[in-house]
Amino acid sequence: MSEPLITDALIADHGLKPDEYQRILDLIGRGPTFTELGIFSAMWNEHCSYKSSKRWLRTLPTEGPQVICGPGENAGIIDIGDGQACVFKMESHNHPSFIEPYQGAATGVGGILRDVFTMGARPVAALNALRFGATDHLKTRSLVKGVVEGIGGYGNCFGVPTVGGEVEFHPSYNGNPLVNAMAVGLADADKIFYSAASGIGMPIVYLGAKTGRDGVGGATMASAEFGEDAEEKRPTVQVGDPFTEKRLLEATLELMASGSVISIQDMGAAGLTCSAVEMGDKGNLGVILDLEKVPTRELNMTAYEMMLSESQERMLMVLRPEKEAEAKAIFDKWDLDFAIVGETIEEDRFLVRLNGETKADLPLKALSGTAPEYDRPWVATPAPAQVSNVPAMDTGEALLKLVGSPDLASRRWVWEQYDNTVMADTIQLPGGDAAVVRVHGTAKALAMSADVTPRYCFADPVEGGKQAVAEAFRNICAVGARPLAATDNLNFGNPEKPEIMGQLVGCIKGIGEACAALDMPIVSGNVSLYNETEGTGILPTPTIGGVGLMADSSKMMTVGFKAGGQPIVLIGAGGGGHMGQSMYLRELFGREEGAPPPVDLNAERLAGELVQALIENGIITACHDVSDGGLGVALAEMAMAGGIGCEVRSPGGADHETFFGEDQGRYVVTLSDPNTLEPLNELAGGAGIAAPWIGETGGDAVILGGASVSLADLSAAHEGWFPDYMGEIT
């Protein structure tokens, strides 16, 4: 088969800029073959090379005594004591999910699960953060439906509980929804597997599903903006098979237990190319691949197609040669492909052959080591004006509208489509502050939360970045866990625009400050740029996935009020009434204005530690962090979850500011009886955190100052919105 000539148009189609192509010529001293061009395109696109973000990612705190493995491997690893480790990461599948929502979302879940079990961990929880366009945009409903079904379809079959996440709507995502999937797994700390190859002449083994033509060029597609031709890119989306992934999980874990594995790498973006180069690069070895040995499911596949296919459910492994028969028997048992497709060599060389014919012959180290890296020009986002003239509104009416608004309504319609109880270790279901899953067979539990408030990030990237970390921290504290570390999934527009680059730089700065102050190092992550359609970028959306640990899961806290007559205390009250970028302004008056609430990281840390102590000492009976919608919405959520009302006095001042301001660093807690106010005040006083009594639980209405709304009305509005919205699909 004759290969296409390398023309300027072909180079451009591969997402390579003229100066990048010149770099290739300088590096290899000749023009690349077609297969080589594909390999460079795969290795040097934004998705795989992080060429625009690398410089800034290096500034993030990634270390700590709790960190076993930081960024750079398939996933991050933290120590959770007793010789156990928690392995986790979040990754985006935004572009594929817009083109083909079901498969795009499904394979996003599959990819992140593979990242976790490639390291020797069994996945025990999945989360996701989803962002869709305006609710009245033509495509939104079908995207919601497809993405939710895709996430459920994959995770439910694979058998991992999908326990939490976020779903939000905003017009900036009209042409570019975000699908960020997170997976969390457990491993023995001394049985973790890495990707660095070692040993010369070691067999390289292909594992899992067969290679097809699906997903060829996917990573390059994911590194470009969408134009009107988005639909034409459908063939670049992969197709998922969770049944095969489930078998691959079991076979891989058995293989690892058998002692056959020297190193292992999953085939994700840019498939065989990226995985082979990564294993060689990290092990300072060269790699030879003989592609005719690759199991294929289609006839006459070219070297180019095999190297760039993003067929799912595949792995590459360096095998201990003496274990070949044993290893193959495991894959035969699970009816999966097992083929030796190459070997490691001493020379720094990436040699790809098909039926003896050389298709690519490149210096391996240079493929990743000399990938372009940019210090792109950026401009800081100008400081927003403080908001003024915030109109008052009847508190009851405002509360009812807010709890039934698209971003604050119950997500039950979504999470009831996810199996959230498989593995029988989920002790806090979706709908609480953080999901909690027991560490199987122990008293310990993991708390997990995915958070970001994009409108804050847009108005002030630095404060918004801080707030994303702070909210994840707060959600984990609120269930009684100690936050340990985080993964970040940075979703932004086109980094070649200085103002977008400024958002990225600002958010990373804020995230870094917060991670350092709250002792939550970033251990893994993913960057998704070029989230633009027809030249309009999304709101900057750096999703933070936090993980925390509870030593005694029986002490776990939930949001619902537990009984009537219990005192309600606001932890961390200070100032109050911050209306800039509030849901109150946006949902009730259509104004996205002002500065976001500032985050005082020191106060945030003290309040979080106080809440952990209150839960540890059994002083409080319910706890909920105050976030979108402010104190009023937090109280309503606690009341609805417990089926018990409350009465909270108005402290004076404007009620809409008291109840709907979004000041940070706050939690609402309840006490079993007034006698426990004293120990609470003692602990709070010691920490220097305000903890005023604000009211009492009871009744069947939420009474805020002079306003009263029945629980029945609140629940109808809160639970009704999502099914009503989606019900219009038949």
């Binding site: 379809g153 079959c157 049944f243 489930k246 999470w415 009831e416 109880t421």
Partner: protein, 223 residues
């Protein structure tokens, strides 16, 4: 009580079932692989767990029903052994013909995962003897294909023979007669969509499923 759990390649509730049976029986369940052809001697109960046995992209449980182990399970059932099929296990039981009817896609066309209210309709079985007739219990469901369908003659027979063990007490999946679980004629085979093994550990906040396992241990074996 000696128990066994069948593991198909896509089973994903096999460990949960193993944990529940271990706790209830005090003995380690035998894990049987779908390619096995024989049931070890002395087994009292075989459980077919939830999951997606062979991916189940088309008819759930259809491929699993043709696997080697199911011939042995059918022989075991014919000799009066206890067989419990939960969720995908129920689907496999109807596809194997050990129970009548078929499980179709939920009427909502959506996967449903939540704790649902159920009524115990029949207590004359090893599985339900610790519940009282008409008792309302709550168990988690998690399925895409749980809508029970059978022809009128079969439904009448199930009712006449008191073989409907559990009914939904709320709208869940569109099952005919709200059927959530049915018994075989000899009352030794139970297929049910809800997951008792996810509701037997006090730490999970719901133990309504525990009596199914303790009932089996205490009475079924003396029968």
């Amino acid at each position: 009580m000696k128990t066994a759990v069948v593991v198909f390649p896509g089973s994903n509730c096999d460990r949960d079932m193993q944990v529940a049976l271990r706790r209830a029986s005090g003995q380690e369940p035998v894990m049987l692989w779908h390619k096995d052809t024989a049931i070890p001697a002395g087994i009292d109960l075989i459980a077919l767990p939830g999951g997606f046995s062979f991916g189940d992209y088309l008819r759930c449980g259809a491929i699993a029903s043709r696997s080697p182990i199911m011939r042995a399970v059918a022989d075991f059932a014919a000799k009066g052994g206890f067989v419990l099929g939960v969720c995908n296990g129920f689907q496999v039981l109807v596809e194997t013909g050990l129970l009548p009817g078929v499980l179709m896609r939920n009427a909502t066309l959506k996967f449903v995962c939540r704790t649902v209210a159920l009524t115990v309709e029949e207590t004359q079985s090893g599985y339900t003897n610790e519940y009282s007739k008409g008792e309302q219990i709550a168990l988690p469901v998690a399925h895409h294909d749980g809508c029970y369908v059978a022809d009128d003659a079969v439904l009448k027979q199930l009712e006449d023979q008191n073989r409907i063990a559990l009914k939904y007490a709320e709208a869940v999946n569109g099952s005919q007669r709200d059927i959530a679980g049915i018994l075989s004629e000899n009352r030794r085979v139970l297929g049910m969509m809800p997951h008792p093994e996810r509701a037997e550990d006090p730490a999970l906040g719901n133990t309504d499923g525990a009596r199914m396992f303790s009932g089996l241990v205490s009475q079924a074996l003396s029968a």
